[in-house]
Amino acid sequence: MPPSSPQTAPHPDGVSRRDFLRKSAVLASGLAAIAASLAPLRELTDATSVEEFLQKHYKEMSPAEMEAALERIRREVQKQYGLRPHLADLKPMDGVEFVYALNLTRCVGCRKCVHACVAENNQSRSPEIQYIRVLKMPNGTFDVEKGRHDYAPESVPEKGFYYMPVQCHQCKNPPCVRVCPVKATWQEPDGITVIDYDWCIGCRYCEAACPYWARRFNFTEPGIPKDKINPDMSYLGNRPRHKGVMEKCHFCIQRTRAGRYPACLEVCPTGSRKFGNILDPNSEVSVILKTKRVFVLKEEVGTLPRFFYYFDV
């Protein structure tokens, strides 16, 4: 034990004043350094709020709790994007089951549906999230492994190819729902498979289970310019998502449950996209399924899609 200097000789019954001061100075600077190094946490403005953390599952919320959740989301959207959205929780309608039909004879592969969807559903622009993937397929095959989605010619359609847009098929037997460990995704009575973005834990099992590559993951906080936000929102539909949750096509739930057509259908310049209530025998989709040749993508996997491809001839 080295001898201590006479000035700092320990007090007979405890610490010397100098020792105390030195120790407390070291302790204080240590604590200050820890506080300073935690400073980046103050920039974490998008942390989950207590309200969001304590929010119940969609199906367990009472109307009052749902209204509180909607109000919280309205507040958050206003804070982040500077506008108050028309946010609602639209419920499925009785006697309605949605079906989509897409005319492969007419589609020219212009990708307008892709971008109308992005604009309608508040998808992240940077990094990019798109629900619809248009495959350029060589004539004479339905082998999607021969398809390409990165074509960029001067004009479409190109000779010798046809175009097959793929998006969520809203399956009647959805593998994505079955694998979800927290029941954050489920099938609604009108056939739309929805996601509660506040309940999703981001495990991406559903993405792996989907045979149509229809689900997308928010790897980063979505980047949407303030002037590009669509204020017409629905809880299970196009309200802004957070980093770390899944999203996918929901047949524009905020439009279709209000009786309107989806955005991708309205923008299609060739009228290849058809949508309606399959339980209505006179709806467009009912007539198509009765009178046209219909093709189901990956029929052999047994997902029973509500999305059909058809041909004119």
């Binding site: 350094a33 190094s37 020219v108 990019e128 309107r260 259908l265 009228g271 007539v287």
Partner: protein, 214 residues
């Protein structure tokens, strides 16, 4: 070394370490290491819902320039027009109508103006069975030859729709044949495709290719 001085040294080292960390955080933004390539905003032309062309009815409704539809500005009223044809029996367009692209039907077989236009009343259309139709009713004229397509159009499964699928909530909006098809060259025109998906890491191998897909 005493236990006291040892703990003093440990505390001092920890403090120095944390101060260094604080300094590092002060000079670097968290998460700044990954910067995805900026993606330019999509041209608004790819999200607008306009048709590729305008029918006479649409032109009149939206207050567009309909002077091109006024036949009597040049032609005499009531005078029967005669079509000039070349040796191969193809129509010879007068120079006032040279801008028309005559490509209706395979092998340009339907290039006789008066298959559809009335040779006397020029602002009317005439069907194969002699009924006369206004320019704004051209859908019925097209259906004269394209029966199955007209049947599909009437059922809503050919051509563009917008508005409401639920007729109880609102109307459906339909388009005439000539809102998308040029009657003189009806094949749907080739158009410029919207930009494809941007890879998260440019330069990395494409997600899809001849061997990969969804």
């Amino acid at each position: 070394m005493t236990n006291d001085s040892k703990s003093n040294w440990t505390l001092a080292a920890l403090a120095a370490g944390f101060l260094g960390l604080a300094g590092a955080f002060a000079f670097t933004k968290p998460g700044a290491g990954f910067a995805p390539a900026p993606i330019p905003p999509v041209d608004p032309q790819f999200t607008n819902t306009a048709t590729v062309r305008m029918s006479a009815a649409e032109l009149a409704r939206t207050g567009g320039d309909v002077s091109g539809l006024d036949c009597l500005a040049c032609h005499d009223k009531g005078k029967t027009l005669v079509l000039k044809v070349d040796a191969a029996n193809h129509a010879i367009l007068p120079k006032e109508h040279e801008d028309l692209v005559m490509r209706h039907g395979r092998n340009d077989r339907n290039d006789n103006c008066f298959n559809c236009h009335d040779p006397v009343q020029l602002d009317l259309l005439v069907t194969r069975d002699g009924r006369k139709l206004k320019l704004t009713d051209s859908t019925l004229l097209c259906g004269n030859c394209h029966g199955p397509t007209l049947r599909d159009w009437e059922a809503g499964i050919h051509g563009r729709t917008s508005g409401h699928w639920d007729r109880a909530r609102g109307p459906i909006e339909r388009q005439d044949c000539v809102s998308c098809h040029n009657p003189h060259s009806p094949a749907f025109p080739e158009i410029k495709p919207a930009p494809g998906p941007h890879p998260l890491h440019p330069g990395a191998p494409a997600l899809s290719g001849e061997s990969k897909g969804p």
